[in-house]
């Protein structure tokens, strides 16, 4: 498949861009942050988003969604990255929808997917427990109790964890931390007894929570996929999430780069536009090339996911690793080239640096994915 957008995809991009840049520019995030908004995103806007078919973008048409693919999800994420719009799109519409669609039984799909598509249900995957993304290190215990299970343990950095209506919790039903065998996913009501949710105010002013589970009872029906065998399902769902976050980082990088180039063309120092200084020109050119290469790598990964999620791991690792280093470079150059102004909260550029750092951590940083690639290649 050609690594360019089709006409339909270009139209999707234009419509997402139009909506998001109009209704949720960076000032939208700034306002939510400064007003200490308890939800952290605009519910009203999320409903418009759902009405335009974005919330159910990955949900099959039979469940009321648009039935589109990961390339399309990436297109929306890229536009989200441009304005840093906080929204449930990543956690609910990409990760949770994929988990339910790929792992759910008929009943689970019928129950949850239509609500995701309509924008009425927010869901999220609760996976990481330690400081770093290490899915196989999951050690939250799920002990059999009667017909069901009891969950005990804690999750860190659950995106949208404080507003979610449904938690998809990775737990260990067998084996020990580090092993692929013995992982199980559970669909858990966040209002269940024994759950304590603490919203964490993050550096990027996006949403996340820490969640503790103390003997939380769940029924056997709440198992998503197969007991003890969730590793494969998780691999796929996480790779989908990685592709989406990588897309967000491409949008973010491109936007911060665009703003920086504009600044180079307007700011004067030493009697010249700073964009006339060759050292900055070369650095800007290198960054441009970096972004274009990363853009292609991410598009390649999304197409690979659309072709076969199970075979996309290497492409996704390359994409997420590149997206991380590129975004880091883009925001660093952005702040440095903006000089003192770039350091002030009054300028938007700092918001990009903060969000880039969180995206880098989400679902594994560049180091993690570079390591994965090395291992997959056997050295």
């Amino acid at each position: 498949m050609a690594l360019v957008l089709t006409e339909e995809q270009s139209m999707l991009r234009d419509s997402a861009r139009g909506l998001i840049s109009d209704k949720a520019p960076v000032s939208h995030l700034r306002h939510l942050r400064d007003s200490k908004d308890p939800v952290g995103f605009s519910k009203e806007f999320w409903h418009s988003f759902a009405e335009m078919g974005f919330a159910g973008l990955l949900v099959p048409e039979e469940f009321g969604g648009s039935g589109l693919g990961y390339v399309e999800a990436g297109i929306v994420m890229e536009e989200i990255g441009r304005t840093l719009m906080p929204s449930p799109f990543l956690a609910t519409s990409v990760v949770a929808a994929s988990a339910l669609n790929r792992g759910g039984n008929a009943a689970q799909k019928s129950e949850f997917l239509p609500k995701i598509a309509s924008g009425s249900l927010l869901a999220t995957l609760a996976i990481d427990e330690g400081a770093k993304h290490r899915p196989l290190q999951t050690s939250l215990q799920a002990v059999r109790a009667g017909n069901g299970f009891k969950l005990s343990g804690a999750k860190a950095l659950v995106v949208d964890g404080h507003v979610a209506d449904l938690l998809i919790v990775a737990a260990r039903t067998a084996g020990s931390a580090g092993e692929r065998e013995g992982l199980t996913l559970f669909l858990v009501d966040p209002k269940a007894k024994g759950i304590a949710i603490e919203r964490t105010i993050m550096v990027d002013a996006h949403n996340a929570a820490r969640i503790e589970f103390a003997n939380v009872e769940v029924t056997a029906d709440s198992v998503l996929g197969e007991i003890d065998q969730a590793a494969g399902l998780l691999d796929g769902v996480l790779d989908i999430g990685r592709g989406a976050v990588a897309s967000e980082m491409v949008g973010l990088s491109d936007e911060v780069f665009g703003r920086t180039v504009e600044y180079l063309k307007s700011r004067k120092q030493f009697g010249k536009l700073i964009g006339e200084f060759q050292a900055l020109q070369h650095r800007a050119a290198e960054l441009y090339i970096d972004i274009e290469i990363t853009r292609a790598a991410v598009m390649k990964a999304l197409q690979a996911l659309d072709a076969d999620v199970a075979k996309a791991a290497s492409s996704v690792a390359v994409a997420k690793a590149r997206a991380g280093t590129t975004a880091t470079r883009a925001v660093q150059e952005g702040v440095q080239m903006h000089g003192g102004m770039g350091m002030t909260d009054q300028f938007d550029i700092g918001f990009f640096m903060k969000r880039a750092r969180v995206c880098e951590e989400l679902f594994g940083d560049a180091n993690y994915h570079t390591e994965q690639l090395a291992r997959s290649r056997g050295y």
Partner: protein, 399 residues
């Protein structure tokens, strides 16, 4: 693409596959292993093997040395889509190109765009048939990156120009039959004006060449001297004094070609090559953690660049490519190739330091390593490439 077109393309694929299976000798289904094993054509060409001759002649007879050139000029007349299919089918069986030629890669596209009918009729068929071997007379000792400051003079003398000056980095000038050459036809004009693009026979009186020894050893490069060489004005391609347009067009082809060079994606992965020298640690990872990290970062970047190269082609087909993007690819591709060889040297350790032994194949690895250092100089330096991106793509002021 319409259904009919798709069906036609499938038919072509089946035919091409069948013809290649029947006509490509087994020996020609693997890469050339040495320079001598590559067929460059020309008046004094010799075939290194019978299969090489057979393969070349069969492809030539089908017009497939230049599959997408018009049939009237000795080409195969294939559409872009058919050409892509043919390339894919050749790659499928590992068929090597039947003819290597600066005439095909560089001069041909420029002649097709800027040449007059007489020039096309005269030169293109001979390029396609491998009869004439061309070399490129661009760089000069005092010009360097500032190509347009070239000083080789072409003075008008009736219907002829009299050419005097020196070129450098003329690849295979000592083997070439003809040269396409930039000369200054108006010394009073601004530097990008007053340049003409001209063709002449290397056996002309006053032409001499001298090979250049590189830090990597013998090289295809030469210094080329012109001492009052008489060339008919009719040999100018395009308009007199507007040769810079032709030169720029041709440079884009050259850069795209160089950015695709190197061993990207071919041969053994770096991780495996390194494992030969450093072995595994207790966990099966390379027992040189820092080198392993460098290889992994390289692999990430190489895979990403491959995606970008693929996308560049797709963008070009979709008419969405920026014409200066080849400079971006040239920059990254050559810098990455240098990185690859730095890693190969580190992986090879002591073994990669031998220069003349049988064991080291006469220092193949260190010579290849040193040779890569020219990648970011030839065909426009990395600095020039970045400047082009800054100016033409980013539109930065004064770039």
């Amino acid at each position: 693409m319409s259904d009919t077109e798709t069906a036609d393309l499938e038919t072509f694929r089946v035919e091409a596959r069948g013809w290649l299976e029947a006509n490509c000798p087994p020996e020609m289904r693997k890469p050339a292993t040495s320079d001598a094993d590559v067929f460059w054509g020309g008046r004094n060409a010799k075939f290194s093997s019978e299969p090489q001759r057979i393969w070349f002649e069969r492809m030539r007879d089908k017009g497939w040395t230049v599959p997408d050139w018009p049939k009237e000029y000795g080409g195969g007349g294939l559409s872009a889509a058919e050409h892509k299919v043919l390339r894919a089918e050749m790659a499928r069986i590992g068929a090597r190109p039947p003819l290597s030629s600066f005439g095909i890669w560089m001069l041909g596209p420029a002649l097709l765009k800027y040449g007059n009918e007489a020039q096309k009729k005269e030169h293109l068929p001979k390029i396609a048939a491998g009869e004439i071997r061309w070399c490129q007379g661009y760089s000069e000792p005092n010009a360097g990156s500032d190509l347009a400051s070239l000083q080789t003079r072409a003075e008008s003398d009736g219907d002829d120009f009299i050419i005097t000056g020196q070129k450098i980095w003329t690849s295979y000038a000592n083997y070439a039959d003809w040269i396409f050459c930039l000369v200054r036809t108006d010394p009073t004009a601004k530097k990008h004006d007053g340049i003409s693009f001209i063709l002449f026979d290397m056996t002309s009186k006053g032409v001499s060449t001298k090979p250049i020894l590189l830090i990597s050893g013998y090289s295809p490069f030469c210094e080329t001297f012109f001492d009052n060489v008489r060339v008919p004005k009719a040999h100018v391609v395009g308009t007199i004094n507007r040769g810079w347009d032709v030169a720029k067009y041709l440079l884009q082809h050259e850069r795209a070609m160089i950015s695709g060079m190197g061993e990207r994606g071919v041969g053994r992965p770096l991780g495996q090559i390194a494992a030969d020298s450093v072995g595994p640690d207790g966990q099966g990872r390379l027992d040189d953690a820092m080198l392993r990290g460098q290889i992994a970062c390289f692999d990430v970047d190489e895979a990403a660049l491959a995606a970008c190269a693929e996308r560049a082609v797709d963008l070009a087909k979709a008419g969405q490519a920026h014409p200066a993007f080849s400079s971006a690819m040239k920059y990254y591709g050559t810098e990455l190739n240098k990185r690859r060889y730095e890693i190969l040297m580190a992986a090879g350790g002591v073994d990669a330091l031998e220069w003349e032994s049988e064991r080291s194949k006469q220092g193949a690895r260190p010579r290849a390593w040193l040779r890569t250092k020219a990648n970011s100089i030839e065909g426009g330096t990395s600095e020039v490439m970045l400047g082009i991106v800054a100016k033409r793509i980013l539109d930065l002021p004064g770039a």
